[in-house]
Each structure stands twice: as C-alpha cells, then as structure tokens.
C-alpha cells in the first residue's frame, strides 16, 4: 500500500542513543480509524518509537508521513497541530477542579476580553460525556471534582478532551496499568469510543489481553525491532499467544499477559506484574 492509505506511516526508522541502536529499521503505520495495539517489554523500543512519532525525539534515519505527506523537521508543537495527542499516565489533569474545567483547561471558551463562557463549557462537557464517551453514572456531572473520580474515569476525561479538540491520532501510554478489573473495562470502553468517532489510536501496553479486546491490529516489538504484526480478524487469541511465545521465547512471554500452558493471566484483566 502507498503512503496515502495511512494516517501516519514511519519507514525505516532507526534511532541510536550514543552507541546503542534502540530502533532498528522500524516500519510502522496507523490507518485512518484504526486501533493499533503496541505490545512489548520494557526496553523493546515502544516509547522511543512513540516519542519519534510525537516529535519528542528525531530519528537518526528514516521517514515519517502524515496523511500521505512527508513530515520535515518533526517537533512536539507540529505533532500537536497535526492532531497527535498523547494521553500519558499522569493524564495532565487538575484534581481539585471539576470535569468541565479540566476539559477546557488551556483552551477556554471565552469572550473577547477573556471571560469564560461557563454555561457553554458545562453544556459542551455534558454533551461530550453523555453522547460521545458514554458516562452513564448519574453521580458524575460536569461539576464533579476530578479528585472524586476513579482512575479509569479520569482516563476517560483525558480521552474525551483529546476527542473534543479534534485529535486525529490518540496515543494511550499504558492506560490500564495499575487499574482494577472494572476500571480497566471502563478504559477499554473509552477506547472503543475513539473507534466509534472515526479517530485512530495507538494503545501501548504490556498486557496482550487488554489490547486484544479492542485493537484492530497488534504490533509486537522486541529489542528495537517490529517482530509481529497481527490483524485481529485473522487470528484468535490462542494462536496469538502461541506466536508470541515463539517470538519472544518462553521466559519473556509473561510480559505480554500470556502464561505458557494457561489461556490468560490468572489475575483476570489485571496487569501481569
């Protein structure tokens, strides 16, 4: 396929930190409206790859394309302008403030002299939460203070914000790590919402099982290389586990939520470590 068929495409990316080659000729792409799971152990190169896509690092060699056009001199502001938003684990939220304040933080709806249109911001927040994100709990309103919400719900607020401000590609960095079973389910449902709104998402995780539930495609990284690329319609979870074991060897398999001889992580949806 040509570069035009992808939202973002990275070709032959290599990256050195001093003399260590942390990425070796990596080819990676995200389709329009595609949820890509990016799986790999610590040090596999996931974060470095993401940092190159978001302009934090520059690749030593290789090319980046966005909607078919080559990106020159990629940078963080440029990535933001193009519509690439990373939702980090710390989520960039303010805990002592209500949801509507968090959604519009730094991008307030104001009149010409800077006074906030509070009514409008609350209405937009209400719409966003109910219609797009599917917050069903009646105890959560735009006025709910963020500090009173659970980890998964906060993640949801951060994702809502990205969607509201027209991010085309949302990168979730370990969104389910450290969350309980029910919270993980919530986050996964938010990821499905991203899909429903027609946007694309890269879902970085250690846990194969979490990402299998929502991804269209899973990309596996190991020691700086892409070592697997699986479309979800074409492979069952069992087959995927087997492949994963072959790729990474038995010892490393646990890092992907896979235990040899057992179907899934006995702890349920919880992280494997």
């Amino acid at each position: 396929m040509g570069e035009n068929n992808y939202l973002m495409k990275a070709i032959n990316i290599s990256k050195f930190f001093r003399y260590v080659e942390v990425l070796k000729n990596v080819n990676f792409e995200v389709g329009f409206n595609e949820i890509v799971g990016l799986v790999g152990d610590n040090g596999a190169g996931k974060s470095t790859l993401i940092k190159i896509l978001t302009g934090v690092h520059n690749a030593d060699s290789g090319e980046l394309y966005w909607k078919g056009e080559k990106i020159a001199n990629h940078s963080v502001p440029q990535a933001r302008d193009m519509g690439i938003v990373t939702v980090f684990q710390d989520k960039a939220l303010v805990e002592q403030h209500p949801i509507w304040r968090n959604i519009f933080m730094g991008k307030e709806i104001t009149d010409t002299i800077g006074f906030i249109n509070i009514k409008k911001e609350k209405e937009e927040t209400e719409k966003l939460m109910k219609e797009i994100m599917g917050f069903t709990s009646s105890t959560i309103t735009p006025d709910t203070t963020l500090g009173n919400m659970s980890g998964g719900e906060k993640q949801g607020v951060a994702i809502s914000r990205a969607l509201y401000f027209d991010a085309d590609l949302i990168i979730l960095d370990e969104p389910t790590t450290g969350l309980s079973l029910s919270e993980t389910k919530k986050v996964l449902s938010f990821v499905e919402r991203i899909k429903n709104t027609g946007k694309a998402c890269i879902f970085i995780t250690h846990n194969l099982f979490h990402v299998y539930a929502v991804a269209d495609r899973i990309v596996v990284m190991d020691r700086g290389k892409i070592v697997g690329n699986f479309f979800m319609g074409q492979i069952s979870l069992e087959e995927l586990e087997k492949k994963m074991l072959e790729i990474t060897g038995t010892g490393d398999a646990e890092h992907f939520g896979v235990y040899s001889g057992r179907k899934i992580n006995p702890g349920g949806l919880n992280g494997t470590r």
């Binding site: 403030h97 730094g106 104001t110 906030i116």
Partner: protein, 320 residues
C-alpha cells in the same frame, strides 16, 4: 431541598467563615452594645480595612498559584514613600499615584522573575525582598517621616480618602477592587490558569498554560495592590512613615487562610479572604471595646485562626 443541600455543599467554606464573623460580631455586641450598635465603631474600622481587603483579595491569586509573597509590606512602604516624595516636590498627587502604582508593579515583576526565571523559592526570595526594600527605605529616608498636611483639601484626597455620608470612601474602592478580583478569579481565563498552575504545574504546562507568564502576572498584581494600599494608608493621616505597611504581613496571610484558601494552592476564595479581613479587622476594636486590654489581640488572632483551620478541615478542605 436538594438544591439547598447542593448550595450548602458548594459554598460551605464561605458559609462557615461568614458564620464565624457573625458569631464574633454577636459576641461583641452583647459584650458592649453601646459601642457596637453605633455606626462610629464600624466607620473607624472601615477606614483601615480597605487596604486589608485589597491586599487579601490579591494574595489569594498568589497563594492559589502555589506561591507566597512576603515582600508586600515593604512594597507598601516603598510606594507610599515614592508617592510622598513626588507629592512633596509639588507634582499632582494623581501623577504621583500612577508612578507609585507603576513602581509597585515593577517590584512585583522583579519578584516574579526571581521565582520563575531564576527559580528561587518564593517564600525565601520575597522574604529577602521584604528586608531589602525596607532597609532601602530606612537608608534613603534616614527613618524620618514625611508629613503631607496640604493633601487634606485636595480633590485627590476627596476621591481616595473622603467620605460619602459617614462611609469612608476607601471601603467603596476596596469592595470594587475585590469584586473585580472575584470576577477574574472565578470567571476569567487568568483566574483559571492561576489555579491550574497551583494544582498541578506539569498538567497546566502540558495543556498549554503559559506558567511563567501567569506566575509573573500574579506577582505584578500583588505589587500593584501593595502600591494602591500604600497610598491609601498614607492618605489616612496625610503623612508617610518609614514603617508604613509593617504589621500587615501576617495579618493578610491570616485573612487569606482564615477565609478558606488552602496553603497548598490550586483553589482559593476571594470572598473568604474578604470576610477573613473583616474578622481580623474587627477583633482589635472588639477586644478593646469589650473591656479587655490590647494584649488579648494577638491571642484572639491566633485562636480564631486555628479554630478556622480546624473547621475547614472538617468541612472537607484537605489535600487530595
């Protein structure tokens, strides 16, 4: 009924502080009805309360942004001195006032630069600035006061220190100033950004809040309000003292914390700070009028402050 509970929950800190104030005033009225049922007691307090309200309302911005400004007592003195020197040389007091406001803001700007660009702790750097400027005033004035008796009959005096009926006009200026502060703090983008920085500076920066610029602006605002207060205090007695502003340091901080603005930043209440200023303003008069000696003043400041912090704690004000 549900609406009433929601209203209470939303404003419980403000309601609590206002209750404290009302209870305190009731005690004073019972202890000495002849003084506290007469408007004169109130007018006397209002004459000096104006400066406290202006300072406390502005300090909420600084505290909510997660910083402190301990230099304002000297900025009050510095601006008052600038004002006095210029007026004494025969220039219009209006121009002197503008120059004082400008120089006060400049000191605030310097504070802001030290905190953001040089990355000093605001607690220590503004404390240093407080000593530095007070020292400078003492050196330059030789510790001698500047009397400005000719100000009394000027238009400037009527506008900034006159009376409407019996009401000291300072009160109108300060309430007007506080209302603007309230609007900016609660309804304007700037107030929001101040709070986000105090809550989580990394999050604020990630979401595009210009952290350094906003912080510098809060210090400039503090310098501006100190200058405003300095000129007001000079007009009370039409005289500049080298010690002008001393004694306000802990009083203003107490008013802010008493009012329900937490020490850790991120949130704040302008309304609470104003009520806090009222409470502390009336304690002195109240104690003397109740027949106790002035020695009880500090004791009651401390008592009220600690009781207020305990009540805020139980009203749910704690760091999450």
């Amino acid at each position: 009924m549900k609406l009433r509970i929601e209203f209470f929950n939303k404003y419980k800190i403000s309601i609590g502080v206002t209750s404290v104030f009302l209870i305190l005033m009731s005690i004073f009225i019972i202890a000495n009805p002849s003084v506290f049922l007469n408007y004169r007691a109130y007018m006397a307090v209002f004459t000096t309360l104006g400066a406290s309200i202006i300072l406390a309302a502005t300090m909420v911005f600084v505290v909510a942004s997660g910083e402190l400004d301990l230099s304002f007592p000297s900025v009050i003195g510095f601006s008052a001195w600038i004002f006095a020197v210029i007026v004494k040389s025969g220039v219009s007091p209006f121009i002197a006032f503008l120059v004082a406001l400008f120089l006060g803001s400049i000191v605030g700007f310097l504070n802001g630069i030290l905190v953001t660009k040089v990355q000093l702790s605001s607690l220590v750097s503004t404390l240093g600035m407080n000593f530095l400027i007070r020292g400078l005033i003492m050196i330059l004035t030789d510790g001698i006061a500047i009397p400005l008796p000719f100000l009394r009959d000027t238009l400037f005096h009527t506008i900034f220190a006159g009376r409407i009926g019996q009401l000291p006009i300072q009160m109108l200026w300060s309430i007007g100033y506080a209302v603007i502060c309230w609007l900016i703090f609660n309804r304007h983008r700037f107030g929001g950004h101040v709070c986000y920085i105090g809550d989580n500076v990394t999050s604020a920066r990630e979401m595009g809040v210009r952290v350094e610029r906003v912080k510098i602006a809060t210090f400039v605002l503090m310098g501006f309000s100190s200058a405003f207060a300095g000129v007001m205090l000079t007009l009370i007695n039409n005289s500049f003292w080298p010690t002008t502003g001393e004694g306000y340091l802990l009083l203003i901080l107490a008013a802010v914390f008493l009012g329900g603005t937490p020490t850790w930043g991120g949130i704040g209440t302008i309304f609470g700070a104003i009520i806090g200023a009222f409470i502390l303003g009336f304690i002195e008069t109240g104690i003397v009028a109740s027949g106790l000696t002035g020695f009880y003043k500090q004791f009651f400041y401390g008592l009220i402050l600690i009781l207020a912090l305990i009540s805020h704690r139980y009203a749910g004000l704690k760091r999450k």
